[in-house]
Symmetry: C2
Subunit: 167 residues, 2 copies
């Protein structure tokens, strides 16, 4: 028999958000999803510590990540559940998941299979360019490549699949 | 005389978003703001590498962060520009700013003044709780405190200011 839990529902292992104290200091996951049903997720390399990507999860993606220990996201460009690495082989194994104070953001520390890359453009991190600080204010702010070479050619991995970047 | 730049506007040092290739591989900052005019910002400790917070910037906050080298955000709870540390003294000095592939997320590597904390609840990181993976699916997912003590008492720092956490 399924145990009774005042804070759970049949469909998902998340607690209801009742008080600020419970959300900030409690011991049950009570995530806040935005108006689109999504929660942002920062994903970092568990060993090196750099930020690999910022993704989004819906309830299903968050639940599957917790249940399987592999990162799942909601693809906003394709509008579908996205088990990271299904196409590329670059599966993200979750070493640790954290939740922030008001439980509206997730942090995943992961180890990436294969080459270790997480970016569809072919770089290791999606954040492969630095932004120049305190440049001339009348000009567009300049970027500098912090990663200097791609780890793979996207055409080899994704073929003719549509590019997820949207203008 | 102000130089002419096809990609700049009088009010802000951001380039227009014209092509996927320019956004992903170009050398000009062309950020994408969401329907609320915001771009998410992951902020990490420049030395230790852990994620301190996930904030949001509007155009003004992003511009001021680039111009001053101090982290500015848009406070969604207070609906105002927010120079981090004005109340608490915990100013974030930007060591490096990065932008992601499709330029819809910012990563700041910072050094924090004072105690080094960034969380309004008093912990060092906002992500002070780990989420238990692969727990019993019929129960609310459990959290474990990864940080065991607060670095300050929020009452001492913020007094009676409203708590930014929203249910």
């Amino acid at each position: 028999m399924r145990p009774e839990h005042a804070d759970s529902t049949a469909s998902e292992p998340f607690a209801a958000r009742r008080t600020v104290e419970q959300v900030e200091e409690g011991l049950a996951l009570a995530p806040k999803f935005d108006v689109d049903g999504l929660i942002p997720c920062v994903t970092t390399d568990a060993d090196i510590g750099d930020v690999l990507m910022l993704g989004y999860m819906n309830r299903d993606a968050l639940q599957r990540t917790i249940a399987t220990g592999e990162a799942h996201y909601w693809s906003r460009s394709r509008q579908c559940l996205w088990r990271k690495g299904t196409t590329s082989g670059l599966v993200q194994k979750v070493v640790e998941m954290r939740i922030d104070d008001d439980q509206d953001a997730v942090w995943l520390r992961v180890r990436v299979a294969g080459s270790g890359a997480s970016c569809h453009v072919g770089y290791r991190s999606c954040f492969y360019r630095s932004v120049e600080l305190r440049g001339p204010p009348e000009e567009p702010t300049r970027l500098v490549f912090a990663e200097t070479r791609r780890t793979f050619d996207p055409k080899d991995v994704y073929g003719d699949a549509p590019n997820p970047t949207q203008l």
